[in-house]
């Protein structure tokens, strides 16, 4: 299933946050969206997943979601959004129950996604017993359980420390390599963008406009931390964004 954004414009009580964004996200590709803070990247993601309505423009799904897909557009949130009163298994079963999947069928799905995220031993643990990285892996497992057509990742690694972030990036790449998924990955971290994006969309500061979309040719599986071409790409992205970021920083002070 492809996604197309047509002239998305959005404002919060007279403050324009997004202006005329058009994008196409083909199936099986991860698009990273980067931009200075407050440029509306997270808002854009909420619009794409239907959690908010754009003031004008529309988000279109092209084609039908694959068979067995319970929730075509599925989020992974920055703060994990796990129910603290449910175990790891219970948190995953939560999103299956409403589709009438219980008992053995649910067990099979839960066991499968926990195995894919290497969490099988933690099925009965409560969220408070898990580290941040583990919590986010549970959230990723939960997203995989509904077999999404598009994963919407809202700064999924931003609440984690650098080492955990590195581990989870490898996990995401491994997941994608095993079974390519369509992803929209919002981040302010350029290193994540160059590691995980097939394409990288750069937004300007508020009101967010699409400045450029850069294609990264290196296959996901061949990318590593500290690779020269990734480093130079990251430097290029930073050059493009730096002035905007400075301006955005000044702007926040005046709000």
């Amino acid at each position: 299933m492809d996604l197309t954004l047509e002239h998305i414009t959005h404002r919060y009580s007279d403050v324009p946050v997004l202006q005329d964004i058009s994008l196409h996200i083909p199936a099986g590709e991860i698009l990273c969206i980067i931009g200075p803070s407050g440029c509306g990247k997270s808002t854009l993601l909420r619009l794409i997943g239907g959690l908010e309505r754009p003031d004008s423009g529309q988000v279109l799904q092209l084609g039908t979601p694959p068979e067995g897909c319970l929730n075509p557009l599925t989020y992974v949130f920055q703060d994990f959004a796990l129910l603290p009163w449910r175990s790891v298994g219970g948190n995953i079963s939560l999103v299956l129950e409403d589709h009438g999947i219980r008992g053995k069928a649910a067990d099979a799905i839960i066991a499968d996604v926990l195995a894919r995220t290497r969490l099988s031993d933690f099925r009965n643990a409560l969220p408070r017993q898990l580290s941040g990285g583990m919590k986010q892996r549970v959230a990723i497992a939960r997203a995989l359980a509904v077999n999404p057509a598009v994963m919407l990742l809202d700064e999924p690694l931003s609440a984690l420390d650098a080492q955990t972030r590195e581990l989870l990036m490898e996990d995401l790449v491994a997941l994608w390599t095993r079974q390519p998924f369509t992803g929209i990955y919002v981040t302010h971290n350029l290193a994540e963008a160059v590691r995980l994006g097939h394409r990288i969309a750069i937004l300007s500061r508020r009101p967010g406009q699409l400045r450029e979309v850069i294609k990264v040719e290196t296959p996901l599986g061949d990318r590593h931390a500290g690779q020269p071409e990734l480093e130079s790409l990251q430097a290029r992205l930073w050059q493009m964004m730096k002035d905007e970021a400075v301006a955005a920083d000044q702007e926040l002070l005046n709000v």
Partner: protein
Amino acid sequence: MSDADPARPVPFRGGGFRPVAKRGTGIVVFLLLLALVEWGTRAGWIGNLTLPRPSDVGVTLVDLARSGQLWVHLIPSLTRLAVGSLLGVTVGIGVGVMIGLFSHVRAGLVPLVAALFPIPKIALLPLFVIWFGIDEASKYALIALGTFTPTVVSTYGAVDNVDRTLIRMGQSFGLSWLSIVRKIVLPGALPGILSGLRVSIAIGIILLVAAEMLGAQYGIGAYVLQAGSLYDLERLFAGVVILSALGVLTSAIVGVLERRLLVWRG
């Protein structure tokens, strides 16, 4: 740093501001206080009419239990408290959840609850006697109304405080409205609802005694009132001891509920 400067350990400046549970301290303070009064009444520097001797109060309590009079008074009181507060708390939680979920209900009922809350409910007892009769029903109604208002306020506060990101998560996975309420909103509001319960039930006990003082033959409140009008301090204090035991007991029950239902908080 020159060699002449002696090495000194950095002085500790942290710590404190963190109450820790000290087991048994409460009981020790209580027993000390009792021992002090006992000593004072025996030695004579506390007069007979100032405070009764704790041991005499104890004897009165034992007699009360032996003669069966304890149950004659305690059972009606417990029934009134149970029926009245169950009614008030149930309806209160229901209304509180509705206020938390629906804007129209909130707009309509919050001012009403705010208006009801500060009314001293005991002042309404004569009205309730006219409405519900002199018997038990008017006492149930009084306790129910008294526990209702604080329960509503704490419940809708608890619903308001449920983490919105969890609700947004539920929506993003396509959960039905009912599922979101049942599986996210209610469990998320439970800690707040339970801590509100402590306040509500304490208010229920106060109203129970007040209602029994105004018009009941049996009940702890009636017993205390009788003792008071005869200046029988031993019996008065025996009644007061039973009431505070009742308070401690209900609070302990809520504590057990919290430990059982909120295991996930750790």
